[in-house]
């Protein structure tokens, strides 16, 4: 049964690709179009991942795709001015803010913005036309469509998204904030494609905020490629805050060159079904990687994190920490795989996944994995599932703190470990506010969101 449904869905995508190929290719550079065909062939073979794929064991994708989503293959004018209705402000944080609406770069006039030092940020589509050499060198090099059907599908349908280029030795003074908005009067599927390039000795920070601004159903299948050059420093934070009817499938591919340092964090505050795939390849020596995640879910939400850390070279360090609090009948899954290749001696790889279940109906599946082919390594993983500590609760209550407040304090303390790792101070404060609000069950979308689109 499941197979039949998926087969039908796959056929829809296959037909759509064949029929609307000319529209798809319109405006995209030759290189991007040349990747489509190959990815499409792979998709025809693999299709949408099923539960038979060990990596997708705990998520059911067929009902997700069964909705009749519209895909905007051409950029669509938004009927009202987004700037009037939405500010995802983080106080005291000066950023270069850019807007992505339904997977399309929003600013019509300036498709590409020059930043100090020769850095460029802007539309993926426009950048592909303007910088064919950069794309030749980096595009599609890390996100292999063979990875899974979702990556293949995105590569086949990729049109627009965000492009960032930081040349050699340039340090961006301000963080970049990408506001990713889904807003429409019909159910929409978006497939944004991002490419971030950091050359030697460069430095950048990106904050991505995902929001839904209307109550329609949305499906995002995004792919982000990050190339961190030698000695580069890159921080990448993603804050997911969408309504219960949305589905976000996000795949991030990070490639690290010698002595680069990448921090990536995913904070899942809200969303219907969320799947984060994070693939990290430590390709050259002395890299450092820190991957973390925090998920707070309730109602029938499902948060599924999959990480794959590939230690391909010696002397690298990776640190992974995922924490979650699950309420109501929410379900969560964590799969973390660390692969230490044969010659990757002197590797340090650590991984931890801690979960708190607040009700008997909440469910967690966790699967930390180590695959080690070298001997001079220090690797560990740990996973725990439990509740708030009774002794700690008693301690607080005996000091006159009521039970609700005491629970809140403990949960907040539980999430603090992740928050503490966020390197951008104003963002840290902002996120901790959001988390507190979220834990208190208050509306957790950015405060200044005036759209009261759907009860969360």
């Amino acid at each position: 049964m499941e197979n039949q449904v998926l087969a039908d869905i796959n056929t829809i995508f296959i037909d759509r690709f064949k029929n609307e190929k000319s529209v798809l290719c319109e405006g995209s550079s030759e290189l991007i179009n040349s990747h489509r065909e190959k990815a499409f062939e792979i998709f025809q073979k693999t299709g949408i991942p099923t539960k038979a794929d060990e990596r997708y064991r705990y998520i059911t994708l067929d009902p997700v795709f069964r909705v009749d989503y519209k895909s905007y293959l051409r950029k669509r004018d938004i009927l009202f001015n987004i700037d009037d209705v939405f500010h995802c402000d983080v106080p005291n944080l000066e950023t270069h803010t850019i807007l992505l609406v339904n997977g399309w770069y929003h600013d019509k006039e300036n498709q590409l913005t020059s930043l100090p030092g020769g850095a460029v940020i802007g539309s993926f589509m426009a950048a592909a036309q303007k910088y064919p050499r950069l794309f030749e060198k980096y595009y599609g090099k890390y996100a292999d469509p063979n990875t899974d059907g979702l990556t293949a599908l995105n590569t086949a349908f990729a049109q627009d998204g965000i492009f960032l280029y930081v040349p050699k030795g340039v340090i961006l003074d301000k963080s970049i904030q990408i506001i990713n908005i889904l807003l429409s009067d019909e159910d929409v599927m978006a497939q944004p494609r991002n490419l971030f390039i950091l050359e030697e000795n460069s430095q950048a920070q990106i904050v991505v905020c995902d929001h839904t601004l209307s109550s329609q159903r949305f499906l995002t299948n995004s792919v982000t490629e990050i190339a961190a050059g030698k000695n580069s420093l890159f921080d990448f934070y993603k804050i997911q805050n969408e309504h219960n009817g949305s589905v976000q499938l996000s795949s991030v591919f990070i490639n690290q060159k010698k002595a680069s340092n990448v921090v990536s964090g995913v904070i899942t505050l809200h969303g219907g079904i969320i799947r984060n795939n994070i693939h990290v390849k430590l390709e050259e020596e002395y890299c450092e990687n820190s991957t973390m995640g925090l998920y707070l879910s309730d109602k029938g939400q499902h948060v599924d994190n999959y990480t794959f850390i590939d230690h391909a070279s010696p002397n690298c360090t990776s640190n992974e920490l995922f924490k979650g609090v699950l309420d109501d009948y929410a379900t969560g899954a964590f799969t973390g795989k660390i692969l230490v290749r044969k010659d990757a001696q002197n590797t340090r790889a650590f991984q931890a996944n801690n979960n708190i279940l607040l009700t008997d109906d909440a469910k967690i599946n966790t699967k930390p994995q180590l695959e080690i082919w070298a001997d001079d390594v220090k690797c560990s993983h740990g996973a725990t599932v439990g509740q708030l500590d009774d002794n700690a609760l008693f301690y607080l209550r005996s000091r006159g703190i009521n039970e609700k407040e005491a629970r809140m304090l403990l949960m907040f303390g539980f999430t603090y470990e992740i928050m503490n790792k966020i390197k951008i101070e104003p963002l840290k404060i902002r996120i901790s506010n959001l988390i507190e609000k979220r834990l208190r069950g208050e509306l957790s979308r950015c405060n200044s969101c005036v759209m009261n689109c759907r009860e969360c």
Binding site: L370, E371, I372, V377, H381, G386
Partner: protein, 482 residues
């Protein structure tokens, strides 16, 4: 230093398998191949009642529809199931009356292996059921156990003498279609051991089965069934060896344990099948399904295993914790060397309230071997206040081996606590230095460290086995430097 390390490692990997001899006893075979007729032939050779044949045929039907599992982190060469002899038995001269009537060659075999078949000369208080190839040759202390109402006999004997118990319990923990190898075993199994401990009886001695593959080209398919009735206690040991051969031999066994209310079963294995030579030629494929069910409240099942042999090990002794307050334990040391591959671990299924499980797994890989831990801890919604603690450590000796961990944790209620920890590392240079400094040679230091590392598990073994297991570890690993 580097050279010396290489030398020591090669010495270790060159270590001889001391049970690799072959005993020339007259053996009866049936023709190679597997079909319905083979199964009917096995069943008729053993003179089995109708229900057994039905059980076998049902399993065979299931097996035909199944596929060889591919999910394990193992590289299993294709097995030609038609090229295996499914039944081999040492030819009996006549009915056995006393120990003197056992084929002296067979007796010599077991003497050589250090297994006491002679009740008079008993050194240790262990009752033994000796299984060679497909058939149980001798069970010791049967009579003195019978006084207490304990049934300890070969499986075929139990089929004839206690058909009710067999009918009731066989296949109740591992159903015929449970997995590919369980289905195969259910179709063609030849013999094994059966243990029944009646209500409130504490078995006065360790029970033991010793498995020996002797004949060439055969597969060994035995089946063990242990039933501990209310309040009973038994400690059961299993050991195995095989001759040294260039071709691979298949061993697919089933062990089922049933623990009723307040019963306590301890099952210990020292698995030392022939692991193949240092180029990976030959060795036993060990595909075993072991599972126990804590049926009643307050029951306990404990698995302890020391895995040193077999070319390929595929084995997951599991516990279904159905009764409230029941306890499951799994202690394992898995050593792989040369080209050995092991994918082993456990499943703890928490169904009852306040159930507890402990998993301690220690993997040691050397040479070009691959060693994986694969486990599942599942806490269902009704299993309130359940508790699990898992610890899986891997030790790597040498740069050509691999160590992998694949734990699965599924928790469906809020009152349970599950913890999992895993580490992978090599023996620290500082540890070796510390020993060297105190006049302990590098070789001895490694032995010391490995033994210390495995101590937590070895401590769980009954005395007789602990000594053997410690020696085994020493043989396979002493002096290897990571």
């Amino acid at each position: 230093m580097e050279k010396e390390q290489d030398k020591i490692i090669s010495e270790v990997t060159g270590g001889e398998y001391k049970y690799g001899f072959y005993t020339n006893v007259e053996t009866e075979f049936i023709p190679k191949g597997l079909n319905e007729d083979t199964i009917r032939l096995i069943s008729s050779k053993k003179g089995e009642p109708e229900f057994m044949l039905e059980f076998r045929l049902k399993a065979f039907e299931k097996w035909k529809t199944m596929k060889m599992p591919e999910w394990a982190q193992l590289n299993i060469p294709e097995i030609d199931f038609q090229n295996i002899i499914y039944y081999a038995a040492p030819k009996k001269q006549k009915e056995l009356g006393s120990i003197d009537e056992i084929d002296p060659k067979l007796k010599a075999t077991f003497d050589k292996l250090g297994i006491p078949l002679d009740e008079q000369k008993r050194l240790s208080g262990v009752a033994v059921d000796a299984v060679i190839d497909s058939v149980s040759v001798k069970t010791t202390f049967k009579d003195s156990l019978a006084d207490k109402g304990i049934i300890f006999c070969s499986f075929s004997e139990a089929v004839h003498e206690h058909p009710d118990l067999i009918k009731k319990y066989m296949g109740s923990v591992v159903p015929v279609g449970d997995n590919y190898f369980a289905a195969l075993n259910s179709a063609v199994f030849s013999d094994g051991s059966f243990v029944y401990i009646p209500k409130g009886v504490r078995c006065p001695m360790e029970l033991s089965t010793y498995f020996r593959i002797n004949a060439a080209n055969t597969g060994q398919f035995e089946r063990t069934l242990i039933v501990a009735d209310e309040g009973a206690y038994v400690s059961y040991l299993e050991g195995c060896t095989a001759p040294q051969r260039d071709e691979n031999q298949l061993h697919a066994a089933i062990v089922e344990i049933i623990a009723e209310k307040d019963a306590d079963v301890k099952y210990s294995t020292v698995q030392n099948w022939y692991p193949g030579d240092k180029d990976g030629k030959g060795g036993i494929y060990n595909f075993v399904t072991k599972r126990g069910i804590c049926r009643g409240d307050n029951s306990k099942i404990s698995w302890t295993q020391v895995e040193t042999g077999s070319a390929i090990t595929w084995k997951y002794p599991s516990c279904i914790l159905k009764g409230n307050n029941s306890v499951g334990e799994f202690y394992s040391v898995a050593v792989t060397n040369n080209h050995q591959q092991a994918d082993t671990g456990t499943k703890m299924i928490h169904l009852g309230k306040n159930t507890k499980s402990t998993i301690v797994s220690k993997g040691i890989s050397a040479g070009k071997s691959q060693n994986s831990y694969r486990g599942l801890v599942k806490v269902t919604k009704k299993a309130e206040n359940s508790r699990n603690f898992s610890q899986c450590d891997s030790l790597l000796l040498g740069s050509n081996c691999g160590a992998h961990t694949f734990p699965y944790i599924q928790v469906d209620n809020k009152s349970s606590i599950v913890e999992h920890e895993a580490t992978t590392s090599k023996i620290g240079e500082d540890q070796i230095f510390y020993c060297n400094q105190r006049g302990i040679s590098t070789e001895d230091a490694i032995g010391l460290i490995v033994n210390g590392y495995a101590k937590e598990v070895l401590n769980q073994l009954p005395m007789e086995f602990a000594v053997e297991a410690q020696k085994l570890l020493q043989i396979s690993l002493e002096g290897s430097v990571g």
